[in-house]
Amino acid sequence: MNKAMGVNNKIAWVHLTSKIRQLIVAVLSVTFGISMYIFMNSFTSGVNDAQAELVFNTMAHIRVYNDLPKEARQLLPVPTGSDTVQFISNPKRIQYTEGIKNAEPIRELLESSPDVVAVTEQLNENVFFHNGVSKVSGSLSGVDIDNENQLFHTAQYMTEGDWYELQRRSDGVILGTGLADKISAQMGDIISLSTSDGILKTYKVVGLIETGSASVDKSRAIISIQAARQLLSKNQSYATDVLANVRHYNDARTTAQRIGASVAYKTEAWQEGNSQLESANVLRDILAITVSLTILIVAGFGIYNIMNMTVNEKMREIAILKAMGFDGKDIVQIFLIQSIAIGFMGGLVGLLLGFIISAGVDRIPFKIASLTTLPIAYIPTDYVMALVFGLLTTFVAGYLPARKASKIDPVEILRG
């Protein structure tokens, strides 16, 4: 068996190397297919990640907040007998509590979950911003400076000022660039805020921030959560939202479900409010896989064609090999070895080329939103899958002609 394998290898090798040009074309078709597979998938993952980064610089993977109850509270017991009909006209859903009074245990619960990587608390409130005569409504976020930065990398979106200034002064405020524009406030200006309860307080603009999401930048101001609690006269561990990020954003839903079971408040994964983002990601993935597999299949047809031609050209030689005592299995082996060798050579070069193309595209400038170059993700699985699919395609494409070769009747050919 082993020795027979050796002879078959030798014959396959001679066949392969006797037509170098044909070999190169076959190898290149695999190379092209595999490198495109890698590039398409790297690019799509890159785009998905970039998209996620844009979205997740203002939105957490999981949000815990006090939601309006789903149904109005049952004021009267439901009548048991069938002879009673109960009418309650115009029942209302009423929120009996506001925000999360004690956010501490929820934060601790989230922090203890193994796939949660960062947790922060926020106190969000709608307020009016005043600067001179301009008066604009917007939202005020009281945030935990360190944790907020860990979740959203807020500090890196600062266009002016220092993020940590908020920690140092309780009367500091950071304005979204659009908001600052609307009330024509600049660094160092004193602006005042008024809450819905009519409390007015002045703050000093210590920074400007641009997250890339225009609607957020036009309406949001940030102060420290302690300052916000003070402003709204809330207790020390009050928060309106507890936010958490998980290791990979696609896993947010399962984690949210698990944690939600033991939390009295609404626990929501990002997908619930943003199905358009999720569907866009999935659709892009499907598109990338479809296109790249199509390219691989086309490469497969190329190999099939070349191997078929080779078999047709070598009919007589196959007949002679059979006359000399090579059986059908040997013939299949001889031709399959050739196509697998083509697949392997093309595959390895394709991996390299795919990486080079990806790295090249990664350097093409693309300055929109927070992007500087076209996004590319380097994922080892893509490379492994490319090689697996490539070898699979060449195997199938090579097997069909090889089987045809093994079925050749030597008598018919040798008798002429």
Partner: protein, 225 residues
């Protein structure tokens, strides 16, 4: 003595384009060391018979034995192994593998058999090539030597596994008279000095006349020896 080849009541039909009986009960034995010529007009069934003996065509009635092994009814893979070890072929055209060197062509059946280490096979192949007077061409591509040389290489290839029988299908049919004589003399010598059993289908009366034994076929039957 056990016959090298034993054929018993072989019957064969061709079904395309219409059913005709090509072989009508052929029986004969060939003794080891015999140099036998199968002659007959075209259509007499002699080539068909040879391909049945070669084990490549298995569609027949009757039995064929080589060296006491009954070949009728064996599976294709078993027959391939048997051919490899016990039968050497020489065709009208040399049918060498053009992309391989002369030496590789001779070595291939033995490498396939795998009973000897490659160095030994190589030494034996070289010895055969020298015996058949093809010296200095071992490393050339098989397509780069002359027709007479190619046919001698084909004979060397047929001999490499020390087969029980060499079968020739018009082995000199495509050669000029000088090369025909060379090839015939090789066969003659192999039979006489090595005791090699040879069966050759031929058109060439002179070739046949110098064989040990001649079987003439007409219309699928043996008419004379």
């Amino acid at each position: 003595m056990q016959p090298a080849l034993s054929v018993d009541n072989i019957i064969k039909y061709f079904h395309d384009p219409e059913t005709i009986q090509v072989l009508k009960g052929i029986s004969f034995d060939v003794q080891p060391g015999e140099f036998l010529a199968l002659i007959g007009k075209s259509g007499s069934g002699k080539s068909t018979l040879l391909y049945l003996l070669s084990t490549m065509d298995t569609n027949y009635e009757g039995t064929i034995q080589i060296n006491g092994t009954r070949l009728t009814g064996l599976k294709q893979n078993e027959l391939a192994r048997f051919r490899n070890e016990h039968i050497g072929f020489v065709f009208q055209f040399h049918y060498l593998l053009p992309e391989f060197s002369v030496l590789d062509n001779v070595m291939l059946p033995a490498l396939k058999l795998g009973k000897q280490p490659p160095e030994q096979i190589r030494a034996k192949a070289l010895e055969l090539l020298y015996l058949l007077d093809i010296k200095g061409h071992e490393d050339k591509k098989a397509s780069r030597i002359s027709g007479g040389q190619q046919q001698r290489v084909a004979i060397a290839r047929a001999l490499i596994n020390d087969p029980a029988i060499i079968m020739g299908d018009e082995p000199t049919g495509n050669l000029d008279s000088k090369n025909t004589k060379v090839v015939f003399d090789i066969f003659r010598e192999l039979a006489r000095e090595r005791g090699q059993t040879i069966i050759a289908v031929t058109h060439d009366d002179e070739f046949a006349a110098n064989c040990d034994r001649v079987i003439e076929m007409v219309d699928g039957k043996i008419v004379g020896e």
